[in-house]
């Protein structure tokens, strides 16, 4: 398909059609395969076809290598995780990556991972001990307080009771306040009380108490104290609110029950002795151990940070290398093994201009890998449709992406992007039209362009990314906006007589009729743009609406004609004369005899100042074409001209519809002589042909399908001619909205604030004006006009000629996006 070169009508133009592509076959010896793919990846001009598509990923030749790379990628992700947790950033590396070997990297990654995992485990253990000790310290403090306060009150009570001469059990009995009602105690039975101390989570503390009470049938005494700050729980590592509890019990069975309940509630128990001296000793010991542990933990963390730093130095290098290797092995998996198992065969698409570079790369790879045999490069002939490749620079790539978003161009059809570079910003500007706002946008985009280098290496947010990517488009939009703003004479909705004084003046010296009948035109037409007198007048809207609507129609008809002419270029390029005679010419005649004629009428009306009603003229041209025009006559013999045009339009519709399918059928039969069925019975057009259309040889030719396709195309064009022309009226609508919004903000905010003669209100008014202008006009209106200009291009312009069913050239290259995870 790449051989059908265009007619020598026009010299070739960059970007107009896709680069010529060819299907190449490379035969590469095994030993130089890896290097070859690596060099071709650096070149970035070959799109490999997958020759092993029937095989599953595990059956492919290099599956083991990919698993290896996958392991290494996992380790690198683990490192990245750890680094981000510790707050270490990977540094930009200056080493060249060809110096490092993949096996070395693998070994190093394995070592570092083992070390890091070990350090982390140790750290966790130490941290857990630390937290336990902290809890123990808290228990010691709080329980100590409790015991000492109880002891104080107990000794006070004891002194009282001792004077009453009762025998108590030894120093285990600290609940003497409870027992003071009991006068007679069986001293033979000494009740041995035990106690347990520990920490319980606060939210479980009430339930804990209740269950203990029930389980031991009320034979326990529990005291709880709240700890004010949250404590780090040793098992979970997170802060939790806890209470210190002391449980007093009697008997072994009660003890075992309490132990089990403590375990169930996750309450940690710590040993505690009531002896004051021992308590103090324990506290000092625990504090000592805590500070020791802290230093150990800090040392451990420092060690880990150093390790992470060393990883961070080489991180980007390793990351890139691993991804590159993985990409190379994926590509190698796409190549098929030759019968002799000594070389690999690759097939791929590449541009014709890159043949020399590819052969160069192949040679270099053969030399560098010390192979005895060189690689073979040959071009294959195929009927497959090649991918579409446009060579764009940073200026044109944004527009090309906009066009591709609708549909990638078929191989070698005309690219609408060529004209879109200019017409898209232009139509945007027609809808935006204010040179003050245009200057604001220009400043913003100049900032983006001047800081291009710095911003392109940073990672920007989603919205900034889009604005930065489209900076050249926005630059064009702002320049055209300044131009159309000068034409509409709007500077934040204020007009200025920049080029000459206004053309209108009062009828007489007293200006008495200025507000009733109006001014008259005394001087020459205002030379550039809209006369400044119009703003704020009562007849501004009728005049401007009429002007802008007619302008929209004129611009729309021009753009649609351009679209049809593009289809002519396509037909010439693909040498399809049936398309020229039975598509291009009828379409041109139809569109121009109706809407081209309307445009001519508009211009004649403006030039002559006639009062003819154009709606009336157009509608009655169809309804009663033979009627006299009367006062709607714009030029002599208008009735005859209209009849002729109407006739031409009506004739062109069947011209679009009928001949093409039959001619295509004849062409198809001429190509497959001797294999055709009996000729068609051509009396009835569509109803009989379903059964006779059949496949001849390899090419299918369904006549009914072709006919229906042509019918749809014709209906779409004919009806679309009216609807698309009306669609261009959005140029008027958005421009009106913009100027009205701008004028409202100016008059109702700024002038109103100015009228109060108060500085504060003025400043407030200015702030509101700035926010409203930026938010509504500069952001929302820009997006809105962008969207509508885009729609006009995608639908009204492109449906005249664009097929857009190709696929994009996606060469094998090592430029990875930032968050690509294979």
């Amino acid at each position: 398909m790449g051989e059908s070169r265009g007619g020598g009508c026009c010299p070739p133009m960059d970007l107009m059609r896709s680069e010529t592509m060819q299907l190449v076959q490379l035969i590469v010896p095994m030993e130089s395969a890896h290097l070859t793919v690596s060099y071709l990846g650096d070149l970035g001009l070959v799109q490999f076809k997958d020759l092993n598509s029937e095989k599953s990923p595990f059956q492919r030749t290099y599956a083991a290598q990919i698993k290896r790379c996958g392991e290494m990628a996992r380790k690198i992700r683990f490192f990245k995780d750890q680094m981000s947790k510790a707050g270490v950033l990977p540094k930009e590396s200056l080493e060249k990556e060809s110096d490092i070997d993949l096996d070395d990297v693998e070994v190093k990654l394995g070592e570092l991972e083992a070390e890091l995992v070990e350090i982390n485990a140790n750290n966790d253990k130490l941290q857990r001990s630390y937290n336990e000790l902290m809890e123990y310290k808290l228990v010691l403090q709080k329980a100590g307080e409790f015991f000492s306060s109880a002891h104080r009150s107990a000794t006070a009570q004891q002194r009282e009771i001792e004077s009453e001469d009762s025998q108590q059990a030894g120093d285990d009995l600290l609940e003497s306040p409870l027992l003071q009602e009991e006068k007679s105690i069986d001293s033979s039975k000494q009740v041995k009380l035990g106690f347990l101390t520990g920490l319980v989570p606060r939210e479980k503390s009430m339930v804990f108490e209740r269950i203990l009470f029930r389980a031991t049938r009320g034979n326990i005494f529990i005291r709880q104290t709240v700890i004010e700050e949250p404590v780090i729980d040793p098992s979970s590592g997170e802060k939790a609110e806890k209470n210190v509890f002391v449980v007093f019990y009697s008997g072994e069975r009660a003890k075992s029950k309490i132990l089990k309940i403590c375990e169930a509630f996750g309450a940690n128990r710590y040993p505690f002795s009531e002896d004051l001296g021992k308590q103090a000793q324990m506290i000092t010991e625990v504090s000592g151990r805590i500070s020791e542990l802290k230093t150990t933990i800090d040392a451990g963390l420092g060690h880990r940070d150093i390790l992470l730093q060393t990883i961070g130095d080489k991180f980007e290098l390793w990351n890139h290398k691993v991804r590159k290797e993985k990409a190379i092995y994926h590509t190698l998996n796409m190549l098929s093994l030759d019968v002799t198992k000594k070389c690999l065969v690759a097939e791929g698409w590449s541009p014709v201009f890159a043949s020399n570079e590819i052969q160069d790369a192949l040679q270099r790879a053969a030399v560098d890998s010390n192979s005895q045999v060189g690689s073979i490069f040959q071009v294959l002939r195929t009927k497959e449709s090649p991918p579409t490749y446009f060579r764009t620079n940073k200026f044109t790539s944004a527009i090309q992406e906009i066009v591709d978003a609708y549909g990638v161009a078929k191989y070698q059809e005309a690219n609408p992007g060529v004209f879109t570079i200019v017409t898209f910003p232009f139509l945007f500007a027609v809808m935006f039209g204010d040179w003050g706002h245009g200057i604001c946008i220009l400043l913003a985009t100049m900032y983006l362009i001047l800081r291009e280098k710095k911003l392109s290496s940073q990672k920007l947010g989603d919205i900034m990314e889009m604005a930065f990517g489209g900076r050249y488009v926005i630059l064009m939009m702002s320049l055209f906006s300044i131009y159309t703003g000068l034409i509409y004479n709007e500077f934040f909705s204020i007009p200025y007589p920049l080029f000459a004084p206004s053309a209108y003046d009062c009828r007489d010296a007293s200006c008495s009729e200025a507000t009733t009948i109006g001014l008259i035109k005394v001087r020459d037409t205002y030379p550039f743009g809209l006369d400044p007198v119009w703003h704020g007048t009562r007849s501004e809207l009728p005049f401007l609406n009429s002007l802008k609507m007619k302008m929209s129609i004129l611009l729309g008809v021009s753009q649609m004609n351009l679209g049809i002419i593009m289809s002519y270029f396509n037909a010439r390029f693909f040498k399809s004369s049936v398309n020229i005679w039975f598509q291009f010419i009828p379409q041109m005649i139809f569109l121009n005899s109706l809407f081209g004629y309307l445009s001519v009428l508009i211009i004649i009306k403006w030039c002559t100042g006639s009062q003819a009603d154009l709606y009336h003229v157009m509608i009655y041209m169809f309804l009663s074409p033979t009627d006299e025009l009367g006062e709607n006559q714009l030029f002599p013999h208008q009735k005859t001209v209209q009849l002729v045009l109407l006739f031409l339009a009506l004739v062109s519709v069947p011209c679009m519809l009928l001949p093409k399918p039959f001619i295509l059928k004849k062409q198809h039969e001429a190509r497959h002589q001797g294999q055709s069925y009996a000729p068609l019975d051509e009396t009835d057009e569509s109803l009989h042909v379903e059964t006779t259309g059949g496949s001849h040889g390899h090419e299918e030719f369904e006549f009914s399908e072709i006919f229906v396709h042509q019918l749809i195309h014709t209906i779409e064009f004919v009806l679309g001619a009216v609807s698309n022309t009306a669609s261009y009226l959005r140029l008027w609508a958005l421009s009106l909205a913009h100027s009205e919004l701008s004028s409202v903000f100016y008059e109702k905010v700024l002038l109103l604030a100015w009228g109060y003669n108060n500085v504060l209100i003025l400043i407030l008014g200015i702030m509101v004006f700035i926010f409203a202008t930026v938010g509504v006009l500069l952001v929302m209106e820009t997006l809105s006009a962008f969207l509508h200009a885009l729609r006009l291009h995608w639908v009204e312009f492109q449906n005249k000629f664009y097929e857009g069913d190709g696929y994009k050239f996606a060469p094998f290259t090592f430029i990875f996006t930032a968050n690509e995870d294979e």
């Binding site: 109006g518 001014l519 009429s546 030039c607």
Partner: protein
């Protein structure tokens, strides 16, 4: 009269712009043709818009009626 003169001015500006682009950005024949196409398209668009607004004001059917100033 004013229409023809300004149209000529647009033509001259277009030619100068094409020459400037050819001199400053000359990069091979196909690229030059692309640049020329873009400049011509831009000139035609700008001229068309100016011409439409100018012609519409040559023989006006509506005249400005001032609003009452307060």
């Amino acid at each position: 009269m004013g229409f023809l003169i300004t149209t000529l001015i647009f033509l001259v500006v277009g030619i100068i712009a094409s020459l400037c682009v050819r001199i400053c950005f000359s990069r091979g024949p196909s690229t030059n043709l692309l640049h020329l196409t873009l400049v011509i398209t831009a000139t035609i668009c700008c001229w068309m818009m100016w011409a439409i607004v100018y012609i519409a004001q040559m023989n006006p059917l509506i005249v400005p009626i001032l609003s009452e100033t307060e």
